[in-house]
Symmetry: C2
């Protein structure tokens, strides 16, 4: 097995660039995955792993996690600790990394509940929302506008690998996306903290296809997108107004959509 | 007004120590609050503000926010930019800080729904949970075991000031706390990702007093605490098991408690 000890090794520089830059990830359709558990998750989710990098220490400590990764990886390299530090996004790297091709598509097929995210800027929020969307019943997820990258190191950590299986669709305008969903039979509701919207507790999601749109953490939905929705929905609050963060609001709305919705029968615990 | 230009000024060193150390905050019963919005929130929540520090630039940029803070603060100091950098927990400080006494108590009285957190370690999770607990209806919140500090800079940012008004009770063992709540008439349910627990969708929170206990992010509830609960509750999931993070699980359970519970009538949107 090749050992890489130089931080100037071209393959390492190329992997480090993927960690740093969303543009690099987008143009090359690749990303860097860090951590024993997340790398194993990538392998078990069927991702194409172009290369695996691991330190000597990681080989001992994370043997069980590494095995399926090494079976799946096209190539494997031993790296020295300073190289691991360069690739890592954390202060105490575990020393396990995979260079992966983009996920090929979402496992969530048509017919399930739907979640549209517009201009979500915090990678922790985006990752958490994807994790919850997978846990509560395989939502179809779409990104609109200027969302952050679900394959950034921070978003990946928060998603716990959900992005590998629930790869969100993106591209196109709000008008195009909502039009397409409406043609499939979806009713789409924009989430707003406004008295004029319908409380989610008064909505009936038990029949038909439904989806919600969550907007930016500070500014909420754009006026254009709100105007394109079939209606506006809000979460009744007892405390101060506008005090749920985007991930918490998304959790409540996804819970209501999936609890009453078509996925209830397939629930297992 | 006094101007502080030295990072070695004793008052500044004392304030910086509050930012860094949970022990310092606990022993002195003080904390450091950063940011224009959070400082205004501290003032408007009636906290005792022993000192306010702000830069010249902040005075221009955040005048509206600073006004109520300066009215409430016992003392105010202009600080130079390098001093602001020392006090700040962020890369781009706004240049507004308050040295505050601990919140004096929670506004949430007896009779409402109750949330107990055990060994929550991530300050972002703790802050988010407090914010949601306030938004959904003034939960009574208690901390058990080795929870992180709700007054750390990161927890404060995530709580958006909820900790000022929903100051969680702490101290004492699980046996003591759950015994006390039971004596008040509460039924307390431990949240676990286990097939043997009752799905929250099958529970009826519409009568009586109820509370849930949420455990550590990785390890869940301690066996001891789980054994002390009146029952165990779980969140039915359609996707992979154990895939909700602690804050998302807390959000779903708080929503179920407050949606059906006694606070429903007082909801406003």
């Amino acid at each position: 097995m090749d050992v890489i000890s130089s931080r100037r090794n071209p393959l390492i520089k190329s992997a480090a660039a993927l960690r740093e830059s969303a543009r690099e990830r987008r143009e090359r359709e690749e990303f860097l995955c860090e951590g024993a558990r997340l790398c194993r998750d990538a392998a078990e989710s069927g991702l194409l792993i172009r290369a695996c990098f691991f330190t000597d220490r990681a080989q001992d400590r994370y043997r069980e996690y590494l095995e399926p990764v090494l079976r799946a990886a096209k190539k494997a390299y031993m790296i020295e600790e300073p190289v691991a530090a360069l690739l890592s996004d954390t202060k105490s790297p575990q020393g396990v990394f995979c260079l992966c091709a983009w996920p090929s598509g979402s496992e969530a097929g048509p017919g399930g509940p739907c979640l549209v995210l517009e201009n979500i800027q915090d990678p922790g929020n985006l990752g958490t929302i994807l994790r919850t969307a997978e846990a509560l019943g395989r939502f179809r997820v779409f990104l609109l506008g200027d969302c952050c990258d679900p394959l950034s190191p921070k978003a990946l950590r928060a998603s716990m690998g959900a992005a590998f299986r629930l790869w969100p669709g993106s591209g196109g305008t709000a008008r195009e996306l909502l039009g397409r969903l409406r043609a499939e039979g979806y009713g789409i509701y924009g989430a707003v903290p406004a008295k004029t919207a319908v409380p989610v507790t008064e909505m009936d999601f038990s029949r038909g296809l439904h989806g919600v749109v969550i907007g930016n953490e500070g500014r909420g939905l754009t006026e254009e997108t709100a105007g394109l929705c079939d209606g506006l929905v809000t979460i009744p609050m007892g405390g101060r107004a506008e005090s749920l963060n985007a991930a918490a609001a998304a959790t409540v709305l996804m819970w209501e959509l999936s609890r009453k919705g078509g996925t209830a029968e397939s629930w297992s615990i």
